[in-house]
Amino acid sequence: MSDEKLYDLEQLNAIAAGNEDFVIKMVSMFLEMTPGLVGRIEAGLQTQDWPEVRSAAHKMKPSVDMMGVKSLHDVVRAIEGNAKTETNLEQIPELYFKLSDTLENVYEQLRNR
């Protein structure tokens, strides 16, 4: 696992306005919901169901941004964009692996924060 901190809760903390319970709640939601969305992208990739890939990536954007996972900012948008226009589809698996691997590390770091 990378030592580099992959998330940044600055934006979430700004909204929380000092309410740590809210931060904890949102981190828990992220940890609960995101694996399901990653699973939907993987399943969509396997069946080449591009609308499903687009939909899951689209839904992931706000939470990835809110958790400050900057390294995935462009990745998740590239998956969504390529799936939407069904262009550069060959790039999606690689993007997916980057997304999936990074998120695994993010989950780990968040659980241990």
Binding site: I15, A16, A17, K61, P62, S63, D65, M66, E80
Partner: protein, 458 residues
């Protein structure tokens, strides 16, 4: 940018926001963020169907995700606007699309916000602006109600005399119909209050009331004042300006002192009233006239028509329902009723104990002829409220200042001849040097007046 604390201090009423968002994470963030203001109540919906089923709760604002699972953002927006076009809808989209944004804004969306790091501030601003706008709308509505209450003629026009009961009956008829109304009465009898009462109690009450005093506008400007002008229509017309008729829109225009209107302007006004359309000065396009017309004068308009000072066709066009306001001297006990009303009003406005009129004071007020009518009575009463040092207004506190007052005139102690000259001069001034009319009114010969004029006695 307004801070959260500033926002808290400016918002006090409860404000209901429906958040329609299928992304639970984002929905949670929005709810938390908006609920930081205790005045905002957030209700979350994860799909369009559930939200639309609750639309009858009429939220104050809606934040609507563009990509819902069961319906497109455009469709949901359309359904909201069909139900109630007044509900402000802030569209929130996962990606920026200018074409979509333009379409949604054209369809009535209040704002279009893209989910990014600035979203929370933009939503704050949007909700703040909506609340400010709603606050202003409520304020305007309340003020309109207050104005309506103020001009409820049963409380704003005071009097129990038989002549005023006739006036009330006529006002009621004017309120219920859309007829043109002409109000006549001496100066200070309350013609404008009657006009406002008719307007604010009529179905047009929520539309503009525009009063124009014909004598207050120079004759060369009256046409552009009433009908507006185009840019460059005359020297100084640097921009297009709408006139009073257009300003009144579907409300009421009140033409006060109509009897003073220049004869050339009368023809132009007649054409506008006949055709129900006007042309701005310097323009060629026709503008529809939708307002109701009320007019007032202190003159005997039938007499003005006979003398050729006022067009007969315009007179009949404006006559409609004639309401004649009696002078105060012919309203019997109304003088005291009104005096007591003004005393109470003065005491209330100035946080004073209620004042009473002594019987001598009542007698003095009752006997005075009130040439300035109610306007004069109000001024006299307010002055005596100031003059008294107790809670009783005595007769010595009452001072009449009217220039037409007989008491004042008598105080000058002139000779009978001098009084005669003054009286004739007063009548000649009042009736625009119309010797025949003055002679008839004073029951003296025309030659007497001509002689007085020749000898420069008047």
């Amino acid at each position: 940018m307004t801070t959260f604390e500033e926002l808290l201090t400016t918002m006090t009423d409860n404000f209901s926001v429906f958040v329609v968002e299928d992304d639970e994470f984002y929905s949670e963030v929005l709810e938390y963020h908006l609920s930081l203001n205790p005045d905002i109540t957030v209700t979350k919906f994860t799909n369009a169907k559930e939200f639309l089923n609750n639309l009858d709760k009429n939220p104050d604002a809606v934040t609507l995700d563009y990509s819902l699972p069961d319906m497109s953002g455009e469709e949901v927006l359309k359904k909201i606007k069909e139900y109630n076009s007044e509900i402000p809808v802030v569209m929130i989209s996962g990606q920026e699309n200018i074409k979509t944004a333009i379409t949604l804004l054209k369809d009535g969306a209040y704002d279009y916000i893209v989910k990014d790091e600035d979203t929370k501030d933009r939503i704050w601003n949007a909700i703040r602006n909506i609340r400010e706008k709603e606050g202003l709308k409520k304020e305007i509505s309340e003020l309109k109600q207050q104005v309506k209450k103020k001009y409820d003629f049963t409380s704003s026009i005071i009097g129990n005399s038989p002549s005023m009961k006739k006036v009330f009956a006529m006002i009621e008829k004017a309120v219920k119909s859309n007829i043109t109304v002409s109000i006549t009465g001496e100066t200070g009898t309350g013609k404008e209050i009657v006009a406002k009462s008719i307007h604010y109690n009529s179905p047009r009450g929520k539309k503009p009331f525009v009063a124009v005093n014909i004598t207050a506008i120079p004759s060369e400007l009256i046409e552009s004042e009433l009908f507006g002008h185009e840019k460059g229509a005359f020297t100084g017309a640097s921009a297009r300006r709408i006139g009073k008729f257009e300003e009144a829109a579907e409300g009421t225009i009140f033409l006060d002192e109509i009897g003073e209107m220049d004869i050339n302007m009368q023809s132009k006004l007649l054409r506008v009233l006949q055709e129900r359309e006007l042309t701005r000065v310097g323009g060629s396009g026709l503008v529809k006239v939708k307002c109701r017309v009320l007019s007032a004068t202190h003159k005997d308009m039938a007499e003005e028509v006979r003398k050729g000072n006022f067009r007969e066709d315009l007179y009949y066009r404006l006559l409609g329902l004639p309401i004649t306001l009696p002078p105060l001297r012919e309203r019997g006990n109304d003088t005291l009723v009104l005096a007591k009303y003004f005393i109470d009003e003065y005491a209330e406005e100035n946080d004073m104990e209620k004042l009473k009129l002594s019987s001598k004071a009542q007698n003095k007020l009752f006997k005075y002829p009130w040439p300035g009518n109610i306007r004069e009575l109000k001024a006299v009463v307010e002055l005596c409220c100031v003059m008294t040092d107790s809670d009783i207004v005595e007769d010595e506190h009452i001072t009449f200042n009217s220039t037409g007052s007989i008491d004042t005139l008598l105080q000058n102690e002139m000779s009978l001849e001098e009084y005669k000259n003054r009286i004739v001069k007063h009548y000649l001034d009042k009736y625009s040097n119309d010797v025949v009319n003055v002679a008839k009114r004073l029951d003296i010969g025309k030659s007497t007046i001509y002689r007085m004029l020749q000898e420069r006695l008047v």
